[in-house]
Amino acid sequence: MTPAARAIRPQQPIEPFQSIGSHTFRLSLQRLIMCSAASLDFAPSHIIADAAREGGAPGAYADITFVFAMVEKLLVQWGGPSIRVRAIGPLEIKDFVLAGADVITSGSVAEVRPVRHDGKSAWTEVIVSVSIRQSDGRVPVSGLARVDLPA
């Protein structure tokens, strides 16, 4: 079965300050271990809470690939299958993305650049502001991403 994906981007002009939506990812320790294994990142701090505490963190925390993946999920949810992700970041990592709390990724349009033609297609480059919040109220990650959308 092919999973369905849909763009939630409204069919209206893209303008600064528009929301690009949000998504919530439940991050249990079990799920963190699954994601860390898929990323081939077996660092103890992403798997064992005590190991993370020895390094100064409050508990097991997600790696950078997890952060990239959450932002990508948001961008693709908004822009649909035709989106081209040009950059994820720069992202400031201000705190740990901890297992045991939901991960809520959201964003808004920061800048819309003029339509660009690459010979076959026309693209609109959009800069978006993104952030990752956890259900305990912390905002461990914030920054920018850049995408091309069919014009």
Partner: protein, 172 residues
């Protein structure tokens, strides 16, 4: 630190991913993160979206670039092993490391068959005491090239390498 201060200089370290990106690897990654966009799952859907075929999630780039943890002839992995990225190519002290700033810039989507090479350059080292310990911020630029030598992505990141303060974090 010397010549590594230039991002355009000779890389401090180079690595090659453990294996080419495969359909199985894409599935495992997309499954774990519940990425349901059909361009990761189906060639036809990807072509309908203007892509040459099924692509890997963009965020899978560093996973695809990761070298082997172990190969025949190596000693056994020690307890507490970490991913074999070349973040330790800079000789600064510290027993722990965390990312503080990251950026991935893409030249094209990754696909099955791509084998990534990573070239590490250091652009800045800054000593700093923080809430978790005493250490150094190290700014890296990592160029990811494919099996044809073409640039597919660039990662720019800052990592904090540090010695944690003694005692539980809650005491500080």
């Amino acid at each position: 630190m010397g010549a590594e201060g230039s991002p355009h200089g000779k890389p401090l370290a180079s690595q090659v991913g453990a294996e080419s990106i495969s359909d199985a690897g894409i599935r495992r990654f997309a499954e774990a993160y519940e990425m349901d966009c059909p361009v990761y799952w189906d060639d036809g859907a990807a072509r309908s979206a203007g892509l040459p075929g099924r692509v890997a999630p963009w965020s899978m780039a560093m996973t695809a670039a990761m070298p082997q943890y172990w190969k025949p002839g190596d000693p056994p992995l020690a307890d507490g092993f970490v991913p074999p990225f070349a973040w330790d190519c800079v000789d600064v002290p510290g027993t722990q490391m965390m990312s503080t700033r990251v950026e991935l810039v893409f030249e094209r989507p990754l696909q099955a068959g791509d084998l990534l090479r990573s070239d590490y350059r250091v652009t800045r080292i800054t000593p700093k005491r923080t809430s978790v310990g005493d250490g150094y911020f190290i700014d890296f630029e990592v160029s990811l090239t494919d099996q044809r030598g073409q640039l597919v992505a660039t990662e720019r990141s800052s990592v904090y390498r540090y010695d944690p303060y003694p005692g539980p974090a809650a005491d500080r």
